[in-house]
Symmetry: C2
Subunit: 211 residues, 2 copies
DNA sequence: ACAGAACTGTGGGAAATGCAACAGCATTGG
DNA sequence: CCAATGCTGTTGCATTTCCCACAGTTCTGT
């Protein structure tokens, strides 16, 4: 199920395809799907496969800044790169990608078709979700101590799943990068949190004991 | 000049006002302008005055998470609060605020009027700008050392103004909070950066000497 | 089944950062 | 003009975090 097309039936999709000149392209693993500039030009929807956005720093180092899964929407709307940086979307596995022209999206079609309005609403919904994720992330990073970073992240996960026991969606090594802290220091911190009875931790499975 | 209405003339504004049931309300200092829920309901535009968004934490502490100036747009689209948090917009000075109903914004009017499309495009533009700001901020916070945080922030400012000499838009004390570091530690770091010839710093005026 | 790679867990020592406290300067409002 | 307040700049000391190194485990592809 693709969120972007939620509430739009096949009939509507066909009309939309005409309205906004949809085109679908296939990419192989490692192939470049798009480059992101500083103005909004295109909207991409990953129909199948996995990909990621990577950013070249001024000094040449590449950083993977975002992972994209099936159904994800990407483009300048959702990730406007900084001016002096080079930003590309690259396929991790074979991908099937749909592109829309931005200018056709925002220009309501003459018939003012219903699916079009729906699509725009969905796009906004996705944009809002994006900012929510980003602000949740800054919420974590703005914590001063590592313990607070960890607890902020864990309680977000716990809230989302509705359970005190959570399974991390990434390796502990990746978690340390996500939190922007040293891995060994994080292990040490987890250890002392365990000793203080704040949580139980066995590899990726964490159980929060106190609030 | 209000960005949201860029490219729309008075004639168009009048039509829009009908289309989407614009209404304008005045607020006094300290008055609550709106509460932000978890679904998109309204779009607010601050026409005059200054305000801020504050978030009540689970433990009751209030944090000012965003300042709003004349022309700023707020609402769930731009700031979706976390589920268990209570989020309000409050006036700092007397404010004049315009509200639009979200459902009328995304529903293209029967006549498919041109200003409507323009408004939607502007809204997207603003949303994109918001995510850009947020990701610039995470870019800073994700730096591991204070020096890198400072340099990342300074070079962003420098890039924006196109000059190597920048004037901080806030006090040094506020800057330390923005960067989520200790103020005295930051002063110390600025001092050693000055001594190493990386920059010149006199109060809020900073000159970058090396890249 | 095996080799290689990635991940987890631990520790010592170095470096960075935070905390607390204080003094001088600038700004503001009566 | 003065007092009060907030901002800047500095320091000693405690703590946290980082860096590096190593060992055991799990995972992965052949």
């Amino acid at each position: 199920m693709i969120q972007l097309f939620q509430g739009i039936d096949d009939e509507g999709l066909k009309r939309l395809a005409q309205c906004m000149r949809m085109r679908i392209t296939n990419f192989q693993s490692g192939e470049q799907i798009a480059q992101l500039g500083t103005i909004i030009e295109k909207v991409g929807i990953l129909l199948e496969g996995t990909a990621h956005i990577e950013m070249s720093d001024a000094d040449g180092t590449c950083t993977r800044v975002q992972s994209l899964l099936s159904g994800d929407v990407f483009g300048e709307l959702f990730f406007l790169p900084h001016e002096d940086r080079f930003c590309v979307v690259e396929a991790d596995t074979p991908c099937r990608v749909m592109f829309l022209d931005w200018k056709h999206v925002i220009r309501p079609c003459p018939q003012s078709c219903d699916p079009h309005g729906r699509l725009i609403a969905n796009l906004f919904q996705l944009a809002a979700e994006k900012t929510r994720q980003l602000s949740a992330y800054t919420d974590i990073l703005s914590q001063r101590t590592m313990r607070q970073k960890l607890l902020t992240y864990f309680s977000t996960l716990s809230r989302e799943t509705g359970s005190r026991t959570i399974t991390l969606p990434m390796s502990l090594a990746a978690l340390s990068e996500y939190l922007c802290v040293d891995r060994s220091a994080m292990m040490r911190e987890l250890k002392s949190m365990r000793q203080e009875g704040i949580l139980e931790a066995d590899r990726r499975v964490i159980t929060l004991k106190k609030l």
